[in-house]
């Protein structure tokens, strides 16, 4: 049978199953195959915080969405064209997102009476006509896998567990994905369990072969590679990019990196990654708590290391007092907050942008801290470097606001030329024979000297008590305190002169509405702006990397448009800052669902704002 091959320009696939079904791994592998093939891509893993939620239940559903295309794309996609549902819970949880006409691949083996009842199905949707709007491929994936592995010396349970590889093989056939990478991956992963390795590879191939021979699929799809700039590429998640950015900051500053961290979702992977790079002189310290983690990082900074701590919102709350100490002692410190849904424990695996005001103001006293936010998974690399640059140059703690979506999402990344990365000058103080002023200041940056222990002649004492301007001795003098409060603020404000101005994208030059975002919403906002422009409506877009201080030209940009729309995954935190600082009545658009924005939804909002002109 010759099968038809259909050309597509983009596809959105969602793999969904029980959290024990290996959906994240399946998605990761399909992503790697897709990256290797040369498509542009963007991913959205979505999983419960529970390691093993009760099997077959709605809270236990884990999914991985991948958007890939023959052109450059910005988001993991709003709605899947293909849903792979490994059990009834996965079907029920994901069906509302599925547009009419989408492909639905269902593992019928799991659609037992018991599993159906668990999620409240009274009938079997595969057998009644409730799925008639979709192109349903009802396949007994588990039993086909077990049959394919009948000759292997493995347990039935192990054979059943390979069903995700069968599904991956089938999808790989369906979309013409290269398979070498996955086979090599399985060989590495199960190197110590050869029988399991062979079985998984066999399941993967069986899935591929099934696609090729079955009549259930008469068409396969091709998505041509995207045009990319020449260069060496890899796929990267936000957390890995942050870790690499920190290693790079160490290399480019000559400072040893010291990470103090306490495990917390969704930031722990940065600790895991950095702990593997000791040969760069990176020291990682898993502390007894969040407070000790930042304390040790600050102690290391006092000693001349690049002190770093990584956490999420609840951890920032605990670290606040030490961040204040870093402000008072004016020592470099990089604080990474991978934001998750709050308040309190909130939804640990779900994304949010609601820590902006905590990063800005969550300390006692006047304690200004620069804030930097990456816009995409690969941009986390540059954001980490930029945070380290500001921290070292201005002797200040700096907060990096990543989020759960950037942390676990991935995209292709063109590797930078290492030699062209910015260098960071530590500029450690040495004795010059004069009277040492630990709180004397560089006239341009207002930074104080970084005099590390071991430097002869510069012995001095620092601490959280107010210091006399210059000498750093304890001072309760009222005028001195006022001076010091203003100096610390002026130092941070002055960084505005040392960062890129806010760039506005307005190709037609006719836009009257500006969409202004920050951090991880860049992809969704940009995709929405494209749609609006495609529909013939001019709209301008700008995206903030620096939240404190804001770029020097921001007031001018805000005043250049009739309306400014600020979409945020919080209740309007950037909007509050902009209104308070610039007296511009921006339009705040907010959704706080633990998920990234959808491009279609934002496009509608932008249209409405333009129409209301």
């Amino acid at each position: 049978m010759t099968k038809q091959v259909q050309q597509l320009d983009r596809v959105i696939i969602r793999f969904a199953g029980d959290s024990g079904d290996g959906m994240q791994l399946t998605g990761d592998r399909f992503t790697q195959e897709t990256a290797a093939f040369g498509n542009d891509l963007s991913t959205l893993p979505n999983f419960p915080a529970e390691i093993r939620a009760p099997a077959g239940t709605l809270p236990g559903v884990s999914s991985f969405q991948l958007h890939f295309a023959d052109h450059d794309i910005l988001t993991p996609g709003d709605a899947p064209n293909v849903l792979v549902a490994m059990n009834p819970a996965a079907l029920k949880a994901n069906l509302p997102d599925l547009p009419r006409g989408a492909d639905l691949i269902i593992n019928t083996d799991e659609f037992t009476k018991r599993n159906l009842a668990k999620v409240g199905y009274t009938g079997n949707p595969v057998e009644d006509d409730s799925l008639s709007e979709y192109r349903v491929h009802a396949l007994p994936l588990t039993s086909m896998t077990v049959n394919a592995l009948a000759d292997f010396d493995i347990s039935k349970k192990d054979a059943e567990r390979a069903k995700n590889m069968f599904a991956l093989g089938l999808l790989s056939w369906l979309y013409h994905r290269p398979t070498e990478g996955t086979i090599a991956f399985l060989e590495r992963k199960f190197a110590r369990k050869p029988e399991i390795m062979k079985a998984n590879i066999a399941a993967f191939r069986a899935g591929w072969n099934y696609g090729e021979t079955t009549e259930a699929f008469s068409v396969s799809y091709e998505v041509k590679p995207a045009e990319h700039e020449p260069g060496l590429y890899r796929n990267i998640t936000g957390n890995t990019a942050l870790a690499y950015g920190l290693v790079a900051a160490g290399e480019r500053s000559g400072l040893p990196v010291f990470l103090g961290s306490y495990p917390i979702t969704p930031a722990s992977d940065i600790l895991h990654e950095l702990s593997r790079h000791k040969r760069f002189g990176v020291r990682t310290f898993q502390a007894e708590d969040e407070i000790a983690a930042v304390g040790a990082a600050l102690g290391a900074s006092f000693g001349g290391s690049l002190g770093v701590t990584t956490t999420s919102g609840p951890g920032i709350a605990l670290k606040s007092e030490t961040i204040g100490l870093a402000v008072a002692t004016e020592l470099p410190l990089v604080i990474i907050d991978v934001q998750r849904a709050g308040p309190s424990t909130g939804m640990p695996t779900k994304t949010e942008q609601a820590d902006l005001l905590q990063a800005m103001f969550g300390r006692n006293g006047e304690a200004p801290v620069p804030v930097v936010a990456p816009r995409s998974p690969s941009d986390c690399f540059d954001a980490a470097l930029e945070a380290a640059r500001i921290a070292v140059k201005y002797r200040t703690p700096v907060v990096v606001l990543s989020d759960g979506y950037l942390a676990n999402g991935s995209e292709p990344w063109k590797l930078p030329d290492v030699d062209s990365l910015p260098t960071i000058e530590p500029g450690l103080a040495t004795a010059d024979g004069g009277d040492f002023q630990p709180f004397g200041r560089d006239p341009e940056t207002l930074a104080r000297p970084w005099a590390v222990p071991g430097t002869p002649g510069l012995e001095h004492r620092i601490g959280g008590l107010e210091k006399a301007d210059g000498s750093g001795n304890i001072s309760y003098d009222p005028a001195n305190h006022d001076t010091m409060v203003r100096l610390r603020q002026a130092k941070v404000d002055g960084i505005a002169r040392d960062i890129e101005p806010l760039a506005v994208d307005d190709p037609s030059g006719e836009a009257r509405v500006l969409v202004l975002g920050w951090g991880g919403t860049y992809g969704a906002i940009s995709a929405a702006v494209r749609r609006v422009r495609k529909a013939g409506r001019p709209v301008a877009q700008a995206h903030l990397r620096h939240l404190n201080p804001f770029p020097a030209n921001i007031a001018e940009v805000l005043r250049s448009y009739d309306r400014v729309l600020v979409p945020e995954i919080n209740l309007g935190q950037l909007a509050l800052l902009l209104r308070g600082k610039y007296l511009v009545d921006v339009i705040s658009y907010n959704r706080v669902r633990g998920l990234p924005f959808k491009a279609e939804e934002l496009a509608g909002v932008i249209q409405d704002v333009i129409d209301s002109e």
Binding site: A35, Y244, F258, K278, G295, F302, E459, I462, G463
Partner: protein, 361 residues
Amino acid sequence: MSENGVNGANGVNGNGLGALALVPKADQKQTLKDFKTDQEVRWCPGCGDYAILAAVQSFLPELGLRRENIVFVSGIGCSSRFPYYMNTYGFHSIHGRAPAIATGLAVSRPDLSVWVVTGDGDALSIGGNHLIHALRRNVNLKILLFNNRIYGLTKGQYSPTSEIGKITKSTPMGSLDTPFNPISLAIGAEATFVARTIDSDRKHLQSVLREAAQHKGTALVEIYQNCNIFNDGAFEPLKDPQVRDDITIRLEHGQPVVFGKDRQKGLRRSPSGGFEVVNVADVDPSDLVVHDAHNPDPSQAFALSRLDSPSFEHTPIGIFRNVQRASYDELLRAQVEEAVEREGKGDLAALLASGDTWRVD
């Protein structure tokens, strides 16, 4: 040091270097004056902290370390003002967190002699978690815990070492909670060096500091310190010439534990597993407990720490425990060195290109 020293984790032994082996030595002989700052000391007149400060300042020249390679880190409280008066590097940090901050410093800088100055509230209440973890990790830190059994800087509330029933501003009808015994706590937290001394006994204090300074890993030195404003006379029996010799047990490694004006009292194992006080003349000398601070088994040191009582019937001072175990910072350095040795120094371009890559031409 002990022949029975315990090796570090993963079979990695200590490299045999002492605590100060990597700290550069001063070129010239130092004196007490070298360690004084120009800052006015702001403790209350008569505070025990003055005696401790003077003892430390006059002891440090003995170590002969470069001043710039010594760091004092403190938390918050009266004692935590200490770094301002030491002409070394110093960090007056936040309440309870000094062991954490000092850990980051010591782990990243083996060429420093790092001292933590803390109090009973700072170390045992708000900072209790950091203290126990510093002790179990055995980071190269010397922790001086000034214990005055009261909150001084906040003007007189009871502390976690105050005796039960303590009448203070916050406990007008008497405190209800059982106090910590810092020595017992430290031994329970896997500390490798645990000692107690008294602010007013400079000779003893300095002898303990001497051993602590040379100890590789975390040393905890509890210093009984008088707060003459809010808890005056808390340790008076140990200072009163009339009674102190009768009730102070001066622990000396390798020596029988005997005390009393005429060294007439000693300790014997009691059938219950603890110790009982006996008249030396009444027992076979071989039944007397001999102090072994180097014993890897902490049971005896712990039992000695339990001899304390609020009534000061008998109070041991000196070094309870002093055993060898690889320090955390030393083990971490060894891992870094091993990683470099095994895979070579890091190459950033290679790191970025690790994993699956593809080239676009």
